[in-house]
Symmetry: D2
Subunit: 309 residues, 4 copies
Amino acid sequence: MSSDNKIAYLGPAGTFTEMAAKMVPGAAASQLIPHASVSEALDAVLSGACHRAVAPIENSLEGGVSATSDALATIPGVQIYGEYLVPVSFDLMVRPGTKLEDITEVLTHPVAYAQSRKWLAENLKQHSHVPAASTAAAAKALANGSTAHAAIAATAAAAIYGLEIIASNIGVNKDAQTRFYEIGKSGTPAKRTGHDKTVVVVELPDDRPGGLLEMLEQFAARGINLSRLESRPIGDQLGRYRFNIDAQGHIEDDAIGEALMGLHRFSPKVIYLGSFERADHSDSVHLGNNADRDYQSAQDWLNSLRQQG
Amino acid sequence: MSSDNKIAYLGPAGTFTEMAAKMVPGAAASQLIPHASVSEALDAVLSGACHRAVAPIENSLEGGVSATSDALATIPGVQIYGEYLVPVSFDLMVRPGTKLEDITEVLTHPVAYAQSRKWLAENLKQHSHVPAASTAAAAKALANGSTAHAAIAATAAAAIYGLEIIASNIGVNKDAQTRFYEIGKSGTPAKRTGHDKTVVVVELPDDRPGGLLEMLEQFAARGINLSRLESRPIGDQLGRYRFNIDAQGHIEDDAIGEALMGLHRFSPKVIYLGSFERADHSDSVHLGNNADRDYQSAQDWLNSLRQQG
Amino acid sequence: MSSDNKIAYLGPAGTFTEMAAKMVPGAAASQLIPHASVSEALDAVLSGACHRAVAPIENSLEGGVSATSDALATIPGVQIYGEYLVPVSFDLMVRPGTKLEDITEVLTHPVAYAQSRKWLAENLKQHSHVPAASTAAAAKALANGSTAHAAIAATAAAAIYGLEIIASNIGVNKDAQTRFYEIGKSGTPAKRTGHDKTVVVVELPDDRPGGLLEMLEQFAARGINLSRLESRPIGDQLGRYRFNIDAQGHIEDDAIGEALMGLHRFSPKVIYLGSFERADHSDSVHLGNNADRDYQSAQDWLNSLRQQG
Amino acid sequence: MSSDNKIAYLGPAGTFTEMAAKMVPGAAASQLIPHASVSEALDAVLSGACHRAVAPIENSLEGGVSATSDALATIPGVQIYGEYLVPVSFDLMVRPGTKLEDITEVLTHPVAYAQSRKWLAENLKQHSHVPAASTAAAAKALANGSTAHAAIAATAAAAIYGLEIIASNIGVNKDAQTRFYEIGKSGTPAKRTGHDKTVVVVELPDDRPGGLLEMLEQFAARGINLSRLESRPIGDQLGRYRFNIDAQGHIEDDAIGEALMGLHRFSPKVIYLGSFERADHSDSVHLGNNADRDYQSAQDWLNSLRQQG
């Protein structure tokens, strides 16, 4: 099995990330390999050990996944080729035989705990929370003999770790979702579909008040909608940020191409992270007259003006 | 003498416009032909009767010359190839033999009169003003036997109409200037010099509040300075305007080219009126990193992203 | 008859301005006094000789009337209290007895001539144009024995100067209008009606590229629509402009008040010229939630935050 | 001891947060009480059990602390009264007697591990990482008999948990800092000092493309610098964000007051989280002429215009 058949993902098994990895085209014929961190999964891609890496980028409850944002912004040579949405639901699971009334300690990740608090307040009035690094880690620790009596985790974790689900979908937000990236080595972007997004990381010039406004105008002047803007610290000192931006459209769109060039001139550092089909399959339309045909007609006009006579 | 040796100008002889026409390259070997209106001078160019037309576009006292702005915005097929600055000074002139104390009526254009009011209040306490269509028309009418006793006009008018100057440079603003355009048939723009300006006429989309702001952002997003913005009625109804814009830079500049294309997409109607050397010879620099080398480097980067892999 | 019953207007009699002066409330019981220039009409107001002055500010054919704009921007102590629209139509008029076939010279203002050119080309193939300072001046000169055979002027001029109309409404643009201001001494603004406009003159700071954009943002940030933006030279040197702005709304509107204060901080020089009912009687609505009730609710909220606890 | 002498903090003991809690005025005479989550610490404030709560908001390595941002945005009734900076340094600590060569498993929080990776690669070539929920949790677990041989944690943790430091300040970024908020019940804001910041949470209107640009213009139009802009998911669905904003200045500044009112009108939801002295003690100056004296002078001018006559 070559590396073309290997997909790295942020493990352990039984997480929502594994569910996303199974959505990557060709996953059924591939080996899915859990990794301990996003950086390690990206390293697997860069070294050629794996063809693709899958990592969470955002969920509707907690927001951006900093580890993934920051890895993409700081590890050169990688690019995003796709994105996938996975519904997030939480189940209460126990070692076989444990009953609801036996539970006094619940092991889970704090976000899962916060989501489940309402259910727990009604159904498990007396309990304490033991935090875990992930929901899958909670399930694994429970299976391995933790002093806790129950874990809150994704459905898939129960089968993997031999646990029993005693309450399903106990989270308060039934529409919660996590979005995942499919990441590979830098290369030709995914094919344009008409419902694409383009991801860039942009630093602002230091010396201009209003720099963020100016940066946003690079998109606005080409009629480009942003679907996400996230600030992240550059890391050298407090108060310096870079922006992770999802723009609607594909690098092959004239509007996106021109905006990228505008950012390249404006910003001391801009990183292109890929163009790919949106997981929600909505059309990406540039406002005003900024479709490719409008660019072509404007270019024809400019050429005629420059050369006439 | 072919039309290549004929320059139309807004007459009559003896105006500041004639002085500007003499500044056009090759004017010494050309015939300068006065015309009664800007439209007629442009018609002479379009018909091939003249090679160039010269008309005032703005003066520091009165502002834009609407007749020229509007002719350029509405008569297709013409383009601006150069601009010239002429200092504006006003002399008091009489028929030979008239003395200062004889003067009770002063013939001149209202702007010249307003400029000279302070001098007249001190030196000609008792007088009345007879308005004329231009300062040269005033000089001509005086020479032709007007009932007035003096005219206020440009120095050159005295020699042309056989008048005597009895007071020089009587205007209150000693630095007054008029700017003139050298206009020809549409063709290849004047050569880029690095201290150029580009003139366009832009209509705003009807249906967008904030349309003017958006239009200005097309320039701002490319670091382009505007040296002039003039609104003019489109003429079909009150409240609809077009904008005459002087932007620093040449159509061959990447920044200007991209901004023109942006305007073409944004605006229902944009007219390119030419790129040419600025009369003040100042450098035209695009703010930020918007020089041609920055555009080239951004284009190289975009190409590499689109084709990599 | 006190000065409260006297209205100065830009004469001579028989112009569209006289027609506008008759629209001022109380005009029927007032004496209408023609003046030779806008400045002289304003002087009559400032001296107390007249209660009001009426002057054209803009017409749909020629655009802004610079003499009025500049007088309002430079003569302190005056304010606008109302505006009026007068339809502009041009008639061909002659001394009694003159026939169409007798006409070889036509006297009129250049704008009226341009408007009538199509009709003249069809009906008076052989003629020349003699320019006049105004259409009324043309009618007056014709009546006084000018060598021309016809004048183009407003209908009212025929009766005043004893002329005969031989062709009516010969202008090409049948919807042409001129807008006029009713001007008085500075004082309490006209009463708010809900369909008002506010007029200001604003200079930009010298040292900021993008100053015009920033100025427009003072309006945009309060949801205020502009119905007119006109640039005029400040007059000290080429390239320095002030902007005459008509904003929808009344100085008593919170949005307008806040925007005016923003301009006062932003601009080295801002002149308030009045708030008054729009001649078109359309509602003046501030975009977004910028009505007075929204300002009041925001102020209540701010007060509660500052004082809570 | 009343609640006025009790400060809740995000525990356990031995974290950087405890160090920040000791910087709160009056902390020396107060009881510092660790809490398991930010929400629980805020609950302690709301219930009156504690006077203040201290929680991390941002660090220069990892960026915003989502748990704190989200708790402040969603738990009503609390306000920020101060901020504190704590340098972040990491020490390698062991149970007494353990030697460097004995260490094969290192227990710590992933961020601390990432920071220490370079030192570990040079000094502990053979080791594996065991993740912990916090650095203090790692120290505590090590003290309690974890199978790991060492923990990476803050200096203070060694004394608290009876561990020995065998390498100090092993992080790669020696200037790393964490910023903490001092939080209390909503009330009168902290006193204005001239070097303040104001924190707000703003949701954008759904229906406007360019809503973020418009929101930023509310600050720009009043010359207000932003020192931080962080997007966070609203949580109901992917793609809807709120923005956590630090603006330079105090709610008692006229510029900040007016901007807050502008946000209140613009945004469907804006939450004021407090104004307080900046931990870096830099001056907070509003760009342009937007100091209180400029506001006062603009208000005086507006009042005179409204009431004159």
